[in-house]
Amino acid sequence: MNSGTGDLRAKIETAFERQVEGLTASAQFRALEEGRATAREYDAFVENVARAHLRSPQLVAFLYALAPPAAAADLRHNLLEELGLEDPAGRAHPDLLSDLLAGAGLAHRLPQVGAQADEDLRRVVVDPLLYGTLREVGLAALAEIVAFEFMLARLAGRFAKALAAHRGLPASALTWFTHHSEVDVRHAEQGLADLEAYARYYDLDDDEALAIVEAALREDVFTRRYWR
């Protein structure tokens, strides 16, 4: 196994921070937070958040299947949490996203949003693989999941506040955001460690791993998902 140089985690964290800064500086984010977005734009944002995360349990299950020993417990925990099975009062995250849509008066859009999420997943499966083996594919997928946890740990509360203030969403509709603002601080920390563990276990050198992480993020992974 590759022992690395020890700064991979810091470099990935820097890449994530750059993405978060890009998101908060974006015109779309500022309009949403400052109440300048139109009602239609708030609704589109809500739908896109649901679309981006509705099938997260499947993606986390895939990552659990690839998890190196040092990250398996974290990913199993995340998977159970996504499915609402981590504690007796837990609710599956797709159900929380349904609540978000319903709270925004968009319950009727759930079938279409679900179909879009299915198509997104289908595309991931049918598109030619850019990488030669599953180890790179897995790292790219893990990087995207952890990047969202990293971002949501910092911004989910601001999203929730903006939707409550400017779109009038009740607290019950915003549980998905408030949940992520609380638990993703821990998830993001674990996730960074898991990314490093993944690279070490599967013998990816730091430059190679960082290139895959950066390629997964591209220029602005968050705005690409939340403002389509």
């Binding site: 693989l129 030669g132 690409r224």
Partner: protein, 378 residues
Amino acid sequence: MKLVAATLYALGIPFVETFTHSASERHACDSVVVRVRDEAGTEGFGEGAPRPYVTGETVTTMVDHLARELWPGVAERELPPAGHLAGLDAFVPEPSVAGAVAPNASRAALELAILDCILRRAGRSAATVLPPRRSRVTYSGVVTAGSLDRAARHARHLRAIGIRHVKVKVGFDDDVARVTAVRQALGADTSIRLDANGAWSLGRAVEVLSAVAPLGIAAVEQPLPRGGDYAGLRAAVPVPLMADESLVTAADAEALIAARAVDFFNVRVSKCGGLARSLAIAARAAEAGLGVQVGSQVGETAILAAAGRHLAAALPEVAFVEGSFGTLLLTEDVSVESVQFGHRGQAPILTGPGLGIRVIEARLRRHAVAVRELGTGG
């Protein structure tokens, strides 16, 4: 069998990220797609990418040209037989457009749509018209403009996915540093080409190419503007030259060959006026001992990508192939099948009916900034 209806879609499919070079900055696909329908209801799809700095066309002139001149010239005329590419080339009319080098994007869009329609009706693949000489095509990657840090990051991404041929957009103040940074990021075993999009003067071209030649440059595309002193540059630098914007028509090809101006032709289906003419220019290059690159249009959809795939697979020799970025660049492509290249830039030949892809018309409508329906009888 005759064509009875057509639809023009002026697209605006957003890019995943901005694509920048010295001549343009693009945020979205602005292709024009043509759908034709014959009497039996068989449909075919073609695409052209108007580029003012290449063919002299814009989206507006292209739509107008298709609607007012090209479509009336093919509607309700007996179509040529399937598999007769030269017959199809003669079937599509060729009026000129004021101010344009040649209205080739319009022509390509219509030619491809008719070819797709005729072949679909016959249940045949374009691979039967352009028999493939290889089982898969290997694509190049592109490092776009932007900061040096961004260029190096792009290069690392391309290396991570196994790309072995990379084109670097140049034509900026920091060209030498840019190419050096990309070479460092890619390592020694990846071929690098440059593309200045005609941004250099002769002096600047000599200066940059002399400085970067030791880094191993496989070719430089369009170093000078159209009409520049290519023969002079070719004599002055050790880097092979490739014509792109200077190569739009068959007459351009002949002039470049006669002047011994370049070492490679960049043949692009949209720019060159369709598959038949692209094939002819590539054949002429081979006769003259020039190498051929099958190029693409930035942001082209699966339709032009499929046409380019057929061309690249069919040529006896092809030095480099570009395109098929699919959803690596577009937020959504327009076909059921993904034409995007995979690991190492490789992609299989297409064997389905027509151009080998199934276009999702609803996606064209969703991404169209304008749609124009054309019928027969005025």
